[in-house]
Symmetry: D2
Subunit: 140 residues, 4 copies
């Protein structure tokens, strides 16, 4: 029997830390986690058939209305990290993505980004029901 | 009579949004808020006599261990924003900075960054008592 | 008597190196020079009455079609640098900006960016004659 | 019979444009090319057995002393680009890397970065002869 937890899918993205991303502490700057989260959700949306560039083309915008991140480790230039992306909350006009970044199998950071669905003039816009269906398996 | 609220000082930094900071949504990318927060606390630490570059030189490091941000508005290329920086929590080995970003007097974002005080080998290090004293007027 | 050299004006911008801009070599990443050049020309265009955000609003775009930079020194977090911006070449549909970055009065980098004037659909567009006139005193 | 041209190897890196990298012109900001060049040479050095993070660990630093780039096209969020990296010049204490960025097989940008080999105190340092040998097949 499947439990709710079993059902949760996560998308995995592998990234190599860029020199540009490091700072004088000799690790990736903390803002890099936001950029990596963005790569993670870009790939997740593409995987489920709703590439975000196409969504914007169709007048669906998902601006970030809040973000948070807890950092437990670090990653330096040339190191490989894995970003796991899933969905924390899913509404008709709102998505919260969840993320975990691991290095050598150990979590170095976790976070969330909350997005509203708006149209090009910034008014609320209901997400396509097909997108909601496609994301459901990734809901925690 | 002074109340606690009266006592709270905030440091104000004025910034102009850079073209580099914008994204295809024609506003500053959400990670820009973290960079602006960083400029804010850099100036606050300098103002109270503990420029952070000097702290690192003296073996005090303040890595970000968590951050969060709520976004209610946006700022585009060439627009001027004000970052207000204060201290949310102050401990012997920990500082939480608080931030608000305003544009034309209206809040567009608010956030926090939590920092641990560590030495160059990442072990806990008590902050200089003089720094704690200097920051106290900025504690909320 | 004024010589051509006397006539050359330069716009000066003072910047403080941001932590975000540094890399693991403990200096500002070389791409930062491009961002600082951009701040320099933004301010120069604003100074002469043609803020670039307004130019784009009016359908004048100045994409970068080439850039170059020679680096002789470096700047670290918290250090103040001055960006001098002038015009190397000025045509009816093209501007080459020149830049020098100094730290403590010593040049640490110099460069150029070449821009074409295009409209929103990327076709050539003649620059406003008033802009050419306004920039002329800054031509080398 | 092999001609000089046949002999030239290039390293190919495929990248997807990140949202963070775009600007309000709805294309990757021109400074992104420098970051992509950096990813290209990182991979080239790793491929020939001299990962740059290890070189720095061993006290070999390759700071950028000049860079240049000509831009003929653009790349937007989600688009895939290929960075080709080779060696333009190779000296005992100097490397010039050459780059071409293509999208759908069409060149959108080309450039160079010149690097000096220095030690941790910024004095000239001869490159390891084994590195020179390993890079030779990539010399134009």
């Amino acid at each position: 029997m499947k439990t709710k937890n079993d059902a949760k899918l996560k998308h995995q993205t592998e990234l190599t830390v860029r020199y540009f991303e490091t700072d004088r502490m000799k690790v990736a700057h903390h803002s890099s986690f936001l950029v990596w989260f963005e790569v993670g959700r870009t790939e997740l949306l593409e995987k489920v058939g709703f590439p975000y560039w196409k969504m914007e083309e169709n007048g669906y915008y998902l601006p970030v209305v809040s973000f948070s991140c807890r950092i437990r480790g670090s990653a330096d230039y040339g190191e490989r990290v894995v970003v796991e992306t899933w969905v924390e909350e899913l509404g008709s006009r709102m998505i919260v993505f969840g993320y975990q970044v691991t290095k050598n199998g150990k979590a170095i950071a976790g976070g969330q980004t909350r997005h509203l669905s708006v149209d090009s003039s910034n008014g609320y816009r209901r997400l396509p029901p097909e997108l909601l269906d496609a994301l459901r398996p990734f809901v925690r």
